[in-house]
Amino acid sequence: MTITEQKQLEDLLARLEGLRRIFIVGCGNCATVCQTGGEVEIEEMRKHLEEAGKEIVGSAIPDSTCETLLTKRELRRHHDAVAKTDAFLVLACGSGAQALASVVDQPVIPGCNTLFIGVTPRAGQHYEWCSACTECVIDEYGGICPITRCPKGQVHGPCGGTDNGKCEVDAEQDCVWTLILQRAEKAPGLWEKVAQRRVAPKDYSRLRRPRQRVYEPRRAGLSASDHAKG
């Protein structure tokens, strides 16, 4: 899931300066889970913006705002409001905001900062365990990614800044190499494998931006949840 945080209201109002009629777009997927762009947050934002003298001409929560066709279809249902808005405020990730920007003509103001791809062990907790490095090797480390979960991406073992299982960068944060060691205590043979593993410098050519994946889809342009609804 893409983890987001809402921008500070002050920052948002500065970005919205000169724009009076606003259409708010949330996201029924990640931003709803992150409590940055679900129904509740859109209502809160509506109140804040109205207090600041804005007119909220409408709002929408596409199932998944980064899926351009879903977003476009959702906006069609709000045709009249969309026609008269000065700008869109998007409470979703940067992919959602750009997907929207690609199908409307008015300015699109991002209401959130996009932080990382996250796991969510429980509500209100998001952690970065994957950095989309293009070549997954977690099986080599007991299901734990040292590339992402170490600030220095140390793949051969810990740096000298770790102590008592914690990280030099953040004393609250576990050293990923201590996590791997603890995992190995439950996984016979893992530590021996880790100790022998030598890794060539990473091939960054696949991380050339902007990355893309284009293929012939089995289903056309709609999300799985959309199909389930028929």
Binding site: P151, K152, G153, Q154, V155, H156, G157, P158, C159, G160, G161, T162, D163, N164, G165, E168, V169, W177, T178, I180, L181, W191, V194, A195, R198, V199, A200, P201, K202, Y204
Partner: protein
């Protein structure tokens, strides 16, 4: 004599350390180096230590070499990608700086410009590998070098004081496998802890130089105990620094005792005086080094 010859000689080795200035005036550091002229095998030059922007390690290494000293180039992986690291190795060798210490590097946010981009394209194991690859006449991508290849004596570091120790030793062994020929450790203040480390490490096959950070004050000791991973200054040493009337004398005496206690367990010491190079000659005199 370079590090390799000194290491092979089997005698007890002493290295020292200086830091490039945050500025362009090297005179003071060159004076520090002169205090140990002829007394040490090599002088490490730190590479933007503590992630603080400074003049470069290689720049000062070249100045030291010109002044007749033997520099050991420290290289961290934090600030440069593999192209730049290999370039630095080649440039160093071209100037005759061929003893190199590979380190990971403190994280950027520990330094004085927290907004900088951390690189870590290679890690310290791969940096040693990169040097070995250049020695074989090509770069990491397999492209051939022009002319005769460089030759390096690569060193590496370990922090003997951290827990858990197992992963530290595991990585240390990978550095040695990659081609490291000597080890300089993080600061040691507790000989018993160092002995434990050496036991756990077993036969490493390369010389270990125990790290000695000259203890300048009780305040510094407390700071390190709180902020430097794996470094524990025993309370007895802190009390001695607190109670002394003559700080320089006490610092010298503590350093002498520490090296004397560590001497039977290692092949040398790496003294990091943090600007107090003047205590090093009396320490070496007292120890007959």
């Amino acid at each position: 004599m370079g590090m390799r010859e000194a290491l092979q000689s089997g005698r007890f080795i002493v290295t020292a350390e200086v830091a490039p200035p945050k500025g362009i005036h090297f005179e003071h550091v060159l004076e520090e180096a002169d205090m140990v002229r002829g007394r040490v095998t090599g002088i490490n030059v730190t590479d933007l230590q503590s992630a603080v922007t400074r003049a470069s390690s290689l720049g000062l290494c070249i100045r030291l070499l010109e002044a007749g000293h033997h520099p050991i180039l420290q290289m961290v992986c934090r600030d440069r990608n593999r192209l730049s690291l290999q370039s630095e190795l080649l440039t160093a060798a071209a100037f005759g700086v061929t003893d190199v210490l590979a380190l990971t590097g403190d994280y950027v946010t520990l330094g004085d410009d927290k907004s900088a981009m951390p690189v870590f394209d290679l890690d310290s194991v791969q940096l040693i590998e990169a040097a070995k690859t250049l020695e074989a006449g090509h770069d990491l991508a397999g492209n051939e070098l022009e002319g005769a290849p460089p030759s390096f004596c690569m060193g590496c570091v370990v922090n003997p004081g951290v827990e858990p120790l197992g992963p530290q030793i595991m990585k240390l062994r990978k550095k040695i496998d990659a081609g490291a020929e000597f080890i300089q450790t993080q600061a040691v203040y507790d000989p018993a802890r160092f002995e434990y480390f050496m036991e756990q490490a077993g036969d490493l096959g390369v010389p270990v130089l125990a790290g000695i950070v000259v203890l300048k004050s009780a305040g510094m000791a407390k700071f390190m105990n709180k902020n430097v991973a794996g470094v524990t200054v025993p309370s007895a040493l802190i009390e001695r620094m607190q109670n002394t009337q003559d700080k320089k004398q006490e610092t010298t005496q503590i350093t002498i005792e520490l090296i004397d206690a560590l001497r039977p367990m290692c092949q040398g010491v790496h003294i990091m005086p943090l600007g107090w190079m003047h205590v090093v000659p009396p320490v070496l005199d007292a120890l007959g080094l």
